[in-house]
């Protein structure tokens, strides 16, 4: 197995409110290896984006990282000082945001935004930076003559490509994709994801891919972690998760969308809605919606258990 790039252990993130803290990420542990695409799936508010932003330490107030550690390339992300953190952001870990329109500055041309990034991290002279910006744009499939275009002159897909070029500009070892295709149509979504995978295979960076679309994720990622109510309920290789999901929540998610090639299986949805993180249910957090729940589920929180290589799930009933 290849080397580990990022190790997250027992990460807890709280949002401090007047009514006390709300734990948005609760004891999450996850490894990301070099050159691997790890997907994070989960409903809105399950803590996936919060976790990703906590890793870059860019969560705005009232967020606080209240437990755990994150080792990235041998450095503890939670103890390094502000200036090292600044160099690390974008230089080693970069991010593609959900809305490309909002992520790009409307009054600065896309080329200039890329050269700015390069110059700010001291990699090049202005001429070199511009040359590199052209290379980057071409690499993500944008014609070189669009370098002086502004965000509003590009289509949605092209804007997201620019964001990807920006994220790759400093050759980071980890790229966080925070629902990068939510604002795009399915055709464009596929193109963009294929582009990312292609670049990833070529350059060899690792990807943390966040989405609520489990089907898309299983196609795209090497491994997938499923979030439910601030915790990871199941993590494992995509193939294992698709063929043999262990946690009832993962099973429910997989049953809730149709497969193209499979038979005419019954579609079903998971009853109920996710719990409030202010007052999470005792025991297994999924038990109020789980059709299999027994007494122990209501009383004791399940520990993750291994079910095959790299495949673990937190459920009392999984076998």
């Amino acid at each position: 197995m290849s080397e580990t790039l990022l190790t997250i252990r027992d990460l807890c993130v709280d949002y401090i409110t007047d009514q006390g803290p709300i734990r948005a990420v609760d004891g999450v542990s996850l490894d990301i290896r070099k050159g691997e695409i790890v997907g994070i799936a989960g409903e809105s508010g399950s803590g996936k984006s919060t976790m990703a932003q906590a890793l870059m330490r860019i969560l705005p107030p009232p967020a606080v990282i209240s437990r755990g550690e994150a080792l990235f390339e041998g450095r503890d992300l939670f103890s390094i000082d502000e200036s090292n953190l600044r160099a690390l952001r974008w230089g080693r870990i970069s991010m593609v945001f959900q809305s490309a329109m909002d992520a790009l500055n409307p009054v600065i041309s896309v080329g200039e935004q890329i050269t700015d990034t390069l110059l700010a991290h001291g990699t090049a002279s202005p001429q070199e930076a511009r040359k590199r910006a052209v290379e980057l744009l071409v690499m993500v499939g944008i014609p070189r003559d669009r370098i002086d275009s502004f965000a509003h002159q590009l289509s949605g897909g092209m804007r997201q490509r620019v964001c990807i070029a920006l994220a790759l500009a400093l050759e980071p070892s980890l790229v966080i994709l925070d629902e990068p295709t939510t604002a795009l149509d399915v055709i464009m979504e596929r193109e963009i994801l294929e582009e990312i995978r292609h670049l990833q295979r070529r350059i060899g960076f690792s990807v943390l891919f966040i989405t609520h679309d489990l089907a898309r994720m299983l196609q795209f990622s090497d491994r997938v972690a499923v979030f439910y109510a601030a915790r990871i309920v199941e993590v494992g290789p995509s193939a294992a998760l698709r063929s043999a999901p262990k946690h009832p929540y993962t099973q429910g998610l997989l049953r809730s969308f149709p497969s193209v090639r499979g038979g005419a299986g019954e579609l079903s949805s998971i009853p109920g809605s996710p719990p409030s993180l202010r007052t999470p249910p005792a025991g297994c957090r999924f038990h109020p919606r789980c059709s299999l729940a027994v007494d122990i589920c209501r009383e004791r929180s399940p520990e993750p258990a291994l079910y095959g290589r790299d495949h673990s799930a937190s459920c009392h009933l999984a076998e």
């Binding site: 009514q19 006390g20 969560l59 107030p61 009232p62 967020a63 209240s66 103890s79 007052t279």
Partner: protein, 312 residues
């Protein structure tokens, strides 16, 4: 952590609670409340401010706590009596100026086109007219008196508010919630009053406070220059008479210092209150409040990056 129902105060009581929690706002509110109380009830407790009660230019004594003026009137009585007119004109002008500004500015911003062109022309003209000289000219031609001064201040003061609110309206106007209101058939008046204006609450409050500070200052300034009714008792005329009686030459500091200090404190109180209101109307700042308190409890400084506060 409380139960699933979170108690939230609404309206005025929420504001009062928030003012109590914010140290700056509380200090400002106390100062302001004190002066308003003095203006309302004070005149009942002091003597006739115009009466000649003693030897002119006496320093503060047990009999006359703040001394006497060059005419032999009681300074304390004049200060208290003057606060009533000065504060009334100040707050009145502050409100009216913002109301006119909101009416003109929001109308221009919302309707756009020719309406906007015309109204923009109007307030741009008022903007380029230098305010204080115009105030002097108008005050010189109209019959003197506090109300005239108020009118002058309104005429010269509304245009800035209109301009700021027009820009704000233009920004809000393009947002989807306004489009949704149009589609759902709300009248233009309702959209402006119930959809757009509430998004500017903090701005409007800040403008009322800023305009009040301006009105009090400008009013006192004009009266000090002798452009008000010098026989009325206001803070401005107090200063006018102090200057007239050569207070600085004779070293009679007690004839102008109390008024000057009161004026400064009222302005200071208003500004403090403003920063408090900013926090109340901005939920983001309010959230940060709890966050900062938590960090402090755990012995950390707020940082730009997400703080790591490990519980031991």
């Amino acid at each position: 952590m409380s139960g699933s129902t979170v108690k939230r105060e609404s309206g005025l009581s929420a504001w009062l609670v928030a003012i109590r929690h914010d140290r700056k706002a509380a200090a400002g509110a106390v100062m302001l409340f004190f002066f308003i109380l003095v203006a309302l009830a004070g005149p009942l407790f002091v003597g006739d401010p115009k009466a000649l009660v003693g030897v002119p230019l006496q320093p503060p004594s047990a009999q006359h706590w703040l001394g006497t003026t060059g005419q032999g009137q009681d300074v304390l009585a004049q200060l208290v009596a003057g606060s009533r007119t000065s504060l009334a004109i100040g707050f009145g002008v502050g409100m009216v100026v913002v109301m006119i500004g909101a009416l003109v500015g929001v109308t221009a911003g919302y309707f756009g086109g020719r309406v906007d062109g015309l109204l923009s022309l109007l307030f741009n003209v008022f903007l380029v007219i230098p305010g204080l000289p115009l105030a002097i000219v108008i005050a010189a031609y109209l019959p003197t008196g506090p109300l005239t001064l108020g009118l002058v201040l309104v005429v010269t003061g509304w245009a800035w508010n209109a301009r700021v609110l027009r820009a704000q309206t233009l920004a809000q106007r393009k947002r989807d919630f306004v489009a949704a209101a149009v589609v759902s058939g709300e009248s233009s008046f309702r959209i402006v009053a119930c959809e757009i204006l509430p998004t500017m609450t903090s701005l409007l409050v800040a403008q009322v406070i800023g305009s009040t500070v301006y009105a009090i200052g400008a009013q006192v300034g004009l009266e000090f220059l002798g452009l008000g009714d010098v026989s009325a008792i206001t803070w401005g005329t107090n200063l006018y008479w102090a200057q007239n009686d050569s207070a600085l030459l004779t070293g009679a500091w007690w004839t102008f210092a109390p008024t000057g200090i009161s004026l400064a404190l009222v302005g200071f109180g208003l500004i403090l209150l403003n920063s408090g209101f900013d926090e109340i109307t901005n939920p983001r700042l309010q959230m940060e409040h709890a966050w900062r308190a938590h960090l402090k409890r755990m012995g950390h400084e707020p940082t730009r990056s997400t703080p790591v506060v490990i519980e031991r």
